[in-house]
């Protein structure tokens, strides 16, 4: 009997301890009930799901103080200490997660392509499957609004800015020599093969305080964190050969990519408007090594490029052609480490070294130059909360440049730029975010300090659309061509004001941007070109204002992706040796590009067209009294490409630029002195070839038979 009582007693104790009711209501920030939230006591089975009205109630065996967990898709998980005996009818407020796909993003100024970017206007593949780009990252970016097509140069000209106003960064570290070797009026290409990059962000203004020494634009290229698999890629092209190999291990991977390009055979088959003695020839290679640590990643990137060509170039001021024989060697190395630490800290540190050497024979004269450039960077990020992130860091740029002409006339400089910056990323809500920062730098060579505040805000007005506004001051040391002759300069300055509207729905994107850019302290000089006896000053001014429109649609017609870019720009400058504030020669008032990509399953083919129009560009005609009063005719180019899957891993690729053979003119070169009739003669600056044909065969060898090089085309 005693035992029986004991049993009943113990049993009832056992039962009674099991009963504690926990109840409450789950709401969002607007006090609206959240249905379907998972509410439970951490470490137990006890919990339930909130109902339509946000109510929940459950019983638990747990006693005393416990952690109550409330989680729901797209909300921040709430963990809160409660006393289970005493937790009834309470209201719990969930905050919307700002890390969701539909949260607002500060987009003013930036085009991004990459899997991590939440508002990709471009996809990584686009960079390389755009007709006419021929694997050149820069050429693909020139189909975006805000850029100018300057066909005789090949570099990126952004919103009335010169090409060197754009800085290129690989994994956050500056690349001092991003373009291949070239000479007057022969276009260059970007040095980087798209092969090794997984993310590209191209900012046409208003960028973060993290980036300095750029007046107009930054191009951010990020190498892959992780290789996909072991594989070998072989490319056979009408212009050369390529070979690459990737090896992947447990924690690390190595990719090596080499290419040999020789235009000699192509030149024999299809003569160009260039009088070559030795057509362009280059040997290049890139390698990336990645090592994953427990809480971070180490990357090593190195690239070399040796190129040469020899040609006879017409010059309106010389009776005979000028022979230009150029040898260029370039080496670039970049190492970086990124690690996550406790307390919400992230550390990034990196170092780059670039060496670019040119030997140029101009008839019997020889020009030698060499640039060594290094960038050291340290960046710390502290996550103060889910909604506030603080970034700060420092940059140290060292540049050494030496040049001699016939081993006599020496010029050059050593410059060190030290900079610090701090920036905060703040989410006020899922619909309202801001980025506020400041950057300060010192250039010891020209003895100048600069201070640049930057700010941007974004506000989401509806499910699919948002506005962003960005403001910032940007500074850059004058370019090498001036610095080598003098150090009596100020830094050149620009301020940007950008208003951006973006609409994204399904596979459709509309992006429009209004901007105003003001330049001050631009370099001026009093001679024909910048030279050793020029008198320099910083009295130059300029502005650019305009509208950029981008529309992309991958939804309306099956298997068709297309985008349309339109830019209107009004830009004037009084710089260099200009006598008035006028529109410079690289600016077309209207630019329009149409890019299409069509997949035809039956043919296993992707066919693409790119059509570009630019209104005429100004040039100075010394036969007229008005300065820079000439206008070239409309530029028009239609390019085509066709990628055919021979089998899953073999691709045949064909492309032709300017199919219609339009005779485009970029500008005119005038004689410095009038002829016997008192007229200044001129010659056209035209493309090096009316059309460019390209045929390639690309073969991927891997265990996984799915992969191919379509993404590299």
């Amino acid at each position: 009997m005693k035992t029986f009582y004991a049993l009943v007693f113990l049993f009832s104790v056992y039962l009674s301890t099991a009963q504690n009711t926990v109840s409450g209501i789950v709401v969002d920030e607007k006090n609206k009930p959240v249905a379907g939230a998972n509410v439970f006591i951490d470490g137990t089975y006890d919990g339930s799901t909130s109902d339509e009205k946000g109510n929940f109630s459950f019983t638990t065996e747990a006693k005393g103080n416990q952690i109550l967990v409330i989680s729901y898709l797209a909300f921040e998980t709430l963990k809160i200490a409660v006393d289970v005996a005493n937790c009834k009818g309470k209201t719990f407020k969930l905050k919307e997660s700002v890390n969701t796909l539909d949260a607002v993003v500060v987009t003013a100024g930036t085009f991004s392509a990459g899997e991590k970017s939440r508002v990709s206007v471009l996809k990584p593949l686009d960079i390389v499957t755009t007709a006419g780009s021929a694997g050149n990252i820069i050429a693909a970016l020139q189909t975006l609004p805000g850029t100018q097509t300057v066909g005789e140069d090949g570099r990126l000209f952004v919103r009335g800015g010169e090409a060197d106003e754009t800085q290129t960064f690989v994994d956050g570290i500056r690349v001092a020599q991003p373009y291949g070797a070239s000479t007057n009026n022969v276009p260059t290409r970007g040095r980087f093969s798209p092969f090794l990059f997984s993310g590209i962000a191209f900012s046409t203004g208003g960028y973060s305080a993290e980036y300095g020494e750029a007046l107009s634009s930054v191009l951010l290229l990020n190498t892959q964190d992780e290789a996909d698999q072991n594989k070998t890629d072989i490319s056979l092209m009408t212009v050369g050969l390529g070979l690459s190999n990737t090896q992947k291990w447990q924690k690390s991977s190595l990719s090596v990519n080499t290419a040999y390009i020789d235009l000699a055979a192509y030149q024999k088959a299809i003569p160009q408007n260039v009088d070559w003695n030795r057509p362009y020839q280059s040997l290049s290679g890139e390698t990336v090594y990645r090592y994953s640590l427990n809480n971070g990643i180490f990357k090593f990137y190195a690239a070399f490029d040796a190129a040469r060509f020899d040609l006879n170039q017409e010059d309106i001021n010389q009776p005979e052609k000028v022979r230009v024989n150029l040898n260029n060697n370039n080496f670039y190395l970049n190492t970086s480490y990124k690690g996550n630490f406790s307390g919400g800290w992230q550390l990034f540190t990196g170092l780059s070294y670039g060496y670019g050497q040119n030997k140029v024979d101009l008839n019997t004269n020889r020009l030698n130059n060499a640039e060594q450039a290094s960038h050291m960077k340290l960046k710390l990020t502290k996550k103060l909360s889910e909604r506030v992130k603080l970034n700060f860091g420092s940059d140290y740029f060292i540049t050494r440049f030496d040049e001699d002409y016939n081993t006599a006339f020496n010029s050059g400089y050593d410059a060190v730029i030290a900079a610090v910056y701090a920036e905060a990323d703040i989410f006020f809500s899922k619909n309202f975010a801001a980025k506020v920062g400041v950057r300060a730098s010192n250039n010891n060579y020209i003895d100048q300090n600069s201070f640049s505040p930057r700010a941007s805000v974004a506000y989401k007005v509806s499910k699919n659309s948002q506005f962003s506004f960005a403001y910032g001051n940007f500074e850059q040391a004058p370019k090498q061509e001036y610095l080598k002759y003098s150090n009596d300069f100020k830094t050149e300055k620009a301020s940007h004001y950008i208003l951006n509207y973006q609409y994204v729905k399904k596979n459709r994107t509309l992006r429009t941007e209004l901007y105003l850019k003001k330049y001050s302290d631009l370099v001026k000089y009093d001679t024909d070109g910048a030279q050793y006896n020029s008198q320099f000053n910083n009295n130059g001014t300029g502005f650019a204002k305009g509208l950029d429109v981008f529309w992309r649609d991958g939804n309306s017609i099956k298997n068709l992706e297309y985008w349309i870019s339109y830019s209107y720009i009004d830009s004037k400058r009084n710089y260099k040796n200009y006598v008035a504030e006028v529109t410079p020669g690289f600016v077309s008032t209207h630019s329009l590009s149409l890019v299409t990509k069509y997949w035809i399953s039956d043919w296993k083919s992707q066919i693409g067209f790119t059509h570009q129009f630019n209104s005429g560009r100004p040039y100075n005609n010394p036969n007229e009294t008005a300065f820079m009063n000439g206008k070239t005719k409309l530029y028009n180019s239609l390019s085509f490409n066709w990628a055919y899957l021979l089998s899953q891993q073999k691709i045949l690729y064909f492309s032709v630029s300017n199919i219609l053979g339009t005779q485009n003119v970029f500008g005119y070169e005038y004689a410095k002195t009038p002829n016997s009739n008192g007229v200044y003669d001129r010659r056209e600056i035209a493309p090096t070839a009316d059309r460019f044909f390209f045929v390639g065969f690309f073969w991927t060898i891997s265990d996984n038979k799915k992969d191919n090089q379509l993404k590299n085309l």
């Binding site: 035992t3 113990l10 049993f11 951490d42 996809k123 993404k711």
Partner: protein, 206 residues
């Protein structure tokens, strides 16, 4: 003495209840999932995961429920959030049970879901990663029917637009059906799905 025995009995009872709680919980969650109550099933599996800190199965099912639900067009709006949830559950499961071929198959299915979402963007990128998971799983467990079947199934689907020969792939599906017959799961809640789909796929092969 009797009291001690009683107490001991009760202690055992409570242990059994705890054990029973796991079985009960998993059973209930499975039932919710079968009834199509994705959110409730996910919530239940999450609670079990929070209590059973060293068992990979509840996390595996959080991933499984969300990955399979993402293929359902009804959930189109929620897919990115679902796949986010699934990915973090798969990561947790993988930490508890490294080199587990069942988790690799689930990871491969998540990649496949991403490809289905946006073939133009994700096709090229994730098909390599998908196959990598299958190759890794195959090296560890060549006799696991889900590894053999899912790999073949994925390749058959890609063959549809690459035009590759599906005959050897169909043979693999047939092989997986034999393996399903031999397969013995470790417990009632260990993964044991796939036979019906394999039979269906084989039917379509011919």
């Amino acid at each position: 003495m009797k009291t001690i025995i009683t107490a001991f009995t009760l202690f055992i009872c409570s242990l059994v209840t705890a054990q029973g709680q796991y079985e009960q919980g998993m059973g209930k969650a499975m039932l919710l999932w079968k009834e199509g109550k994705t959110e409730d099933a996910t919530a239940m599996f999450e609670r079990i995961a929070s209590a059973e800190k060293s068992n990979w199965l509840p996390n595996y099912y959080v991933g499984m429920v969300n990955v399979t639900a993402s293929f359902n067009p009804v959930n189109k709006e929620k897919v990115p959030a679902m796949l986010d949830k699934a990915q973090s559950a798969i990561d947790n499961a993988g930490l508890l049970s490294p080199n587990n071929p069942e988790i690799m198959v689930l990871q491969a299915m998540l990649y496949t879901a991403l490809i289905v979402q946006d073939p133009m963007t994700n096709g090229m990128k994730y098909s390599g990663k998908t196959m990598e998971q299958y190759y890794k799983a195959l090296a560890i467990a060549p006799e696991n029917p889900r590894v053999v079947f899912c790999k073949a199934d994925f390749e058959i689907n890609s063959a549809r637009w690459t035009g590759a020969d599906t005959k050897p792939l169909c043979e693999q599906v047939a092989k997986s059906i034999d393996l399903f017959a031999k397969f013995k799961p470790e417990s009632a809640f260990h993964p044991n799905w796939g036979l019906e789909r394999a039979e269906q796929t084989l039917k379509n092969c011919k």
